[in-house]
């Protein structure tokens, strides 16, 4: 049976782009063929989850019914009342499937994984939880079941993001772009597709498929021979970190490019993150839709909550605590492994130190020139690479799985 995994091989792009031609012609002439868009999306989603992956398809349908009912009933509720506990319960229920999926491998609930698991569950959860929060804020007031489904199941971004926002998505999807605008989007789409090819199929192939397995093997063998450490680990760190970027950035480029062809301005996910001068800037350039989501729906809300309840006197303490909790949650989201959590903690503490330094810099007029800029970039890059080494789980293999 034909099964198509998104952006996996050249054939996929040919099939996808051919399928999108009628939609693109419509948009070129200023008309959005909504029914065709939905049809193509459904066919491609079906082809992602058919054959041996049918159980993922069933899980996706179940999951969508669950979220659909939750968001719908919460909208209805919110029109009349606004009790905090209802909001919390709704949020928890929206996150529940994802939480179960993350716990399942740790406690060996195999059935839970087959019953609820499908590729992209975390990205769909971000979207629906974001909606619940905006409904609570009152910035989303109406529940449109049709637009809800189109937003949640937007095919180009279904499995790995970027994470769009409902209100932004709806303004795009309800109209067709002007011809000039659409031509501009098509031009960008071609550019992103080809950058994506370079990133994912060439650079990431060399780093991840050709180099990484060998370096990983050498790192493990020589670390075992030398009591837990070897310079191969450093080589692995850079290769893994760079590959993480090129693989994911390439993937995101494909998703954005496909979105553009469909006349939707899917937000960008990466903006040259390795040129960041500090850790805060890094998170504004790395996996941007995720970190902005965390900023808006975790960090900001934590800060408001702590200020309202006056838990801490100083604003600095408040934001520091929020940084650490925010990053810890992100660590947990990656999976219940010590190294993901350590990765989150690393970045939480990193952001705190970063803030201390920025305040110190402001006060003491630290010299600022081209050289310090370059130094800042080098330091940030290496700090990030160390965090990715943690994230990779190699240290876990070397130290704890002998």
């Amino acid at each position: 049976m034909l099964n198509l995994q998104p952006y996996a091989d050249p054939q996929y792009f040919i099939i996808l782009l051919l399928a999108l031609v009628p939609l693109a012609i419509g948009l070129y002439f200023g008309k959005r063929l909504a029914w065709y868009e939905v049809l193509v999306s459904l066919v491609f989603i079906f082809l992602m989850f058919d054959g041996k992956k049918y159980h993922e398809g069933i899980a996706l349908i179940t999951y969508m019914i669950w979220q659909w009912l939750l968001v719908w009933s919460y909208t209805l509720y919110r029109k009349k009342y606004n009790q905090t506990w209802v909001f919390y319960v709704t949020t928890i229920l929206a996150i529940l499937p994802l939480v179960l999926i993350k716990i399942a491998p740790v406690v060996h609930w195999l059935q839970v994984t087959t019953l609820l698991g499908f590729m992209g569950i975390s990205y769909l959860t971000f979207r629906s939880v974001g909606m619940v929060m905006e409904i609570r804020d009152g910035s989303i007031q109406e529940f449109n079941p049709w637009l809800f489904l189109r937003f949640m199941l937007f095919m180009p971004t279904i499995s790995s993001g970027p994470i769009d926002r409902y209100r932004r998505f709806v303004t795009d999807v309800e109209k067709a772009p002007t011809r000039d605008k659409y031509l501009d989007m098509l031009g960008k789409s071609v550019k992103y597709l080809f950058i994506g090819f370079l990133y994912k199929f060439i650079v990431s192939h060399v780093l991840g498929t050709v180099l990484m397995p060998n370096v990983e093997r050498m790192a493990i063998i020589s670390a075992h021979a030398q009591g837990g450490w070897s310079w191969w680990i450093v080589a692995y760190m850079y290769i893994y970190g760079l590959n993480l970027f090129f693989d994911f950035a390439g993937y995101s480029m494909f998703a954005v490019a496909t979105g553009y062809v469909m006349g939707i301005e899917v937000p960008m996910n990466f903006n040259l993150p390795f040129l960041s001068k500090n850790l805060k800037e890094f998170w504004n350039r790395w996996h941007m839709t995720l970190s902005f989501w965390f900023r808006d729906f975790v960090f900001m809300r934590l800060v408001f909550l702590m200020m309202k309840k006056k838990w801490f006197k100083s604003r600095v303490t408040t934001s520091n605590v929020a940084y650490i909790i925010n990053m810890l949650i992100m660590g947990f989201w990656h999976g219940l492994k010590w190294y993901y959590i350590a990765y989150g903690l690393f970045h939480g503490i990193g952001l705190v130190i970063n803030d201390v330094w920025l305040r110190y810099k402001k006060k003491h007029h630290v010299p600022h020139n081209k050289f310090t800029n370059a130094l800042a970039i080098v330091i940030t890059f290496n700090v990030v690479m160390v965090s990715f080494l943690l994230f990779s789980g190699l240290l876990d293999k070397i130290w704890f799985q002998r």
Binding site: L183, G187, H224, A225
Partner: protein
């Protein structure tokens, strides 16, 4: 001004790129050029791309300057010490030069598929095949298959099938157990046809020709991409250290000298560096760790049969070399010598009963000093012993063999047969 670009400005370059790539892939002429030096490097490169591909291998076997001959094997081939067959052949300008095919993890199924890309090099030619008993494990014997698999092998195999034999059906069944095949609906469909004894249609054949051309072009363009320096870094220095004349006792003396220098940090006669890196960290854990190892029952026996059938089909004149295990090491790890010898007997029965009579069996020599370079791989004096068989084999040249293939060796019954007492004798 740039704002007013039309569709052609956007898609023109893309269309042009597609046209150019298609032209490149379907052009009816070869795009690879390999110098003699490139081939020499490739012959000891252990590059996976070379193993998986066709163009470099065939360039080597068609080389007019050097008579490259296939040496099939696995990890022992990587032991490029000064007595290695590649070094000896180069040093004494023998009438052959090994082209090494295999590395850690290549077993019969990988070899069988690899052969499909070089049938002209096997047809009425000579070859050496080194067997490791470690291939014949009860479970997980195909762990390395994905690393050595390429679609080009499957395409060539399918194209080579004229009438469907039991071996073809067996291989089809084996391939359908591999994710690399089942992930691709095109290959799955065709391989399933072979399994069900249905001949491929005309359309299938034409599609295969098209695929073959594209994959071959990809192979020509990329398979020599990963350059290896083994020849310059390992073979060249070894050539300098060897005695001037091709003489066994001089070689033995040199081997003793080199091996003595390189061993000594352990009681097993294992090369120092190997011991330090691979054994010492878990030495305690390895004690008695192989007491349950058993090579007597394995589906590998039938994969091996497919290889034999291919040799028979091409009338290849083959010398089989059976590799020993390091006796001191196997004692330490508790490997049962009795069961090990029985598995060797089983392989030999399979060979001899079908007319493959050229067998250099070193399975009993694992206790000889400096015969093994490490735990399970021949080195120094082991290579010299092998050379006493390899050298005359090529010196006498090709001799037409008579093989009689018995398809019962493809059966579960043979795979699971315990090679004791009369079991072997009675199997027909």
């Amino acid at each position: 001004m740039l704002k007013k670009r039309g569709l052609w400005w956007i898609f023109g370059p893309v269309v042009l790129a597609f046209v150019m790539v298609t032209a490149l892939f379907l052009a009816p002429f070869s795009l690879s050029y390999l110098s003699n030096k490139d081939i020499q490097k490739a012959s000891v490169s252990f590059s996976k791309n070379v193993f998986k591909g066709e163009s470099v291998k065939m360039a080597a076997f068609n080389n007019s300057k050097t008579n490259y001959v296939p040496f099939f094997g696995s990890s022992e081939l990587l032991r490029l010490d000064s007595m290695h067959p590649s070094v000896l052949a180069a040093k004494y300008r023998r009438n052959y030069q090994p082209f090494l095919l295999g590395q850690a993890g290549t077993e019969s199924l990988s070899h069988y598929l690899g052969m499909q890309e070089m049938t002209p090099a096997l047809h009425k030619k000579q070859a050496v095949f080194i067997i490791s008993q470690q291939w014949f494990t009860k479970r997980d014997s195909k762990w390395a298959f994905p690393q050595f698999y390429s679609p080009l092998q499957t395409v060539n195999w399918l194209r080579n099938i004229k009438t469907i034999t039991p071996t073809d059906r067996f291989i089809a069944k084996r391939l359908l157990e591999q994710k690399q095949i089942t992930d691709n609906s095109f290959y799955t469909r065709l391989v399933t046809k072979i399994k069900n004894n249905e001949p491929l249609s005309e359309t299938d054949q034409s599609l295969l020709i098209l695929r073959n051309r594209m994959l071959l072009r990809e192979d020509q363009l990329f398979s020599n991409f990963t350059v290896s320096n083994n020849w310059d870094r390992q073979v060249e220095p070894a050539l300098k250290s060897l005695p001037k004349t091709d003489n066994v006792s001089l070689l033995e003396r040199e081997a003793m000298k080199v091996a003595k220098q390189q061993t000594g940090n352990n009681e097993f006669g294992i090369q120092n560096s190997f011991f330090r890196m691979r054994v010492k960290p878990s030495l305690k854990k390895l004690e008695n760790s192989q007491s349950h190892f058993d090579y007597r029952q394995s589906d590998e026996y039938s994969d091996f049969q497919a290889v034999l059938q291919e040799f028979a089909k091409e009338n290849t004149d083959v010398l089989f070399i059976i590799q020993p295990v390091n006796r001191k090491w196997s004692k330490y790890t508790g490997l049962s010598t009795k069961r090990y010898y029985q598995s060797v007997d089983k392989v030999k029965k399979q060979l001899k009963s079908q007319g493959f009579n050229q067998i250099a069996d070193f399975s009993h020599d694992g206790g000889q000093k400096y015969f093994m370079q490490d735990t399970i791989h021949m080195g120094w004096r082991g290579w010299i012993a092998a050379d006493t068989e390899i050298k005359p084999f090529f010196a006498r040249g090709y001799q037409e063999p008579t093989y009689h293939i018995n398809d019962n060796y493809l059966s579960k019954k043979w795979q699971n047969l315990v090679p004791i007492d009369n079991n072997l004798k009675n199997f027909k």
